[in-house]
Subunit: 134 residues, 4 copies
Amino acid sequence: MAFTVSSALDLVQSAIRVGAERGIQVAAAVVDAGGRLLASARSENSGFVNLTIAERKAVAAINFKAPTHGVLDMIKADPILLGAVTTEPSLCVLPGGFPIVVSGVVVGALGLAGGHYMQDQAVGEEVLKMGPKG
Amino acid sequence: MAFTVSSALDLVQSAIRVGAERGIQVAAAVVDAGGRLLASARSENSGFVNLTIAERKAVAAINFKAPTHGVLDMIKADPILLGAVTTEPSLCVLPGGFPIVVSGVVVGALGLAGGHYMQDQAVGEEVLKMGPKG
Amino acid sequence: MAFTVSSALDLVQSAIRVGAERGIQVAAAVVDAGGRLLASARSENSGFVNLTIAERKAVAAINFKAPTHGVLDMIKADPILLGAVTTEPSLCVLPGGFPIVVSGVVVGALGLAGGHYMQDQAVGEEVLKMGPKG
Amino acid sequence: MAFTVSSALDLVQSAIRVGAERGIQVAAAVVDAGGRLLASARSENSGFVNLTIAERKAVAAINFKAPTHGVLDMIKADPILLGAVTTEPSLCVLPGGFPIVVSGVVVGALGLAGGHYMQDQAVGEEVLKMGPKG
């Protein structure tokens, strides 16, 4: 199933709006099933590096086909594995990265950064609950 | 003057819509005055490298504070200079990059890729004529 | 507000001089509001990587709009977050990075490296107390 | 012979000042004998990529122990060689890079960018004629 740029932009805009409602300056990125950027944006008050981090979280989520907080939970007890994964420049497994599932198929991933990672995760969960048209 | 993510997303969405009306699968990127990505998106049918090219055109436009087709016109008669500029990995001076001017101040830049560069330029000119709320 | 190269060079030179008075071989970098290098220099006896570190501290300070020691204080109790931030190649949150504020506006950032990070922080605080013309 | 940061900063400042007198927004970089950055600055009106280009010209000058315009003259008739050198990301052989010679010894190099390369070369020649204390 193709995931459209329109849906990707909906998710990015929802993420920035939900973040703003909570006082968080969000950066959000959506990648396709190949881990390639489809849409991204950051609040003009969000540091520019946040957009890089958001994309890395999305890439991690599509790579592992799992939310980054789940990946982190699986590896955090093993310092060797944790060290290897957290120093891989293409990925970021801090909470805030989520596969996007449509009709049971992983079609892409959403990454968020800008708040504390627990906030990023909460914003992402709310955004994905609303669906792409939220 | 701050350039908002909302205006940046308006430009990106207009670019994709205007491109689609012309049968072009556009990738579009908006950077702030410091050349840092604010918003970007590509049609799901546009090659993923197009988004990189779009961002490089936007960075070139903000760096030179001139449209990329103007920069190219100034350097294209000199193969040495052309070679140097076209191999600089942070920039792309193919037509399709434009400074964004608000109240006489350059607040950012828009870059487009995905069609022939003459099409990218034409789409960008139409988008900027409509203004950020187009 | 524009931050001039002349002010940026004043800060860099003050940093090297204050460092030398304390026996520290300082590298110093000033970036503009977009996190782009405006001026940099290192003592000829300071390792060349120090200049890279100084720039990364300045980029971190402008990205977070906070001194790097403040950023570090917020994240150092959380090894996961600390690991993620300290492996981000564009940033360095070791003490010694400072936003430069003129008339209440963050116009750029100063980063210092070359001594122990507590020394880098102390030199930077003295330099910024003197102001750009110090 | 050690080349001091003070001499390097003198050259950088002279380059910016001489450029300004000619209406050119100069970026200038000085590297040491190992090709490592010692000092750099750009006019606040000079595009940020110019500083990267200036450093690459300085690295080319120290690598070849010759001015970049001389290197270019030697290779420009050979498209294979020209292509190879001009696509090497660490170097830029456009005119405007110069070895710095003290008492017959190459101690570093100066690179300039921001104007047309013939202007960059002319500014550099004037700066080096004045010597580091100019």
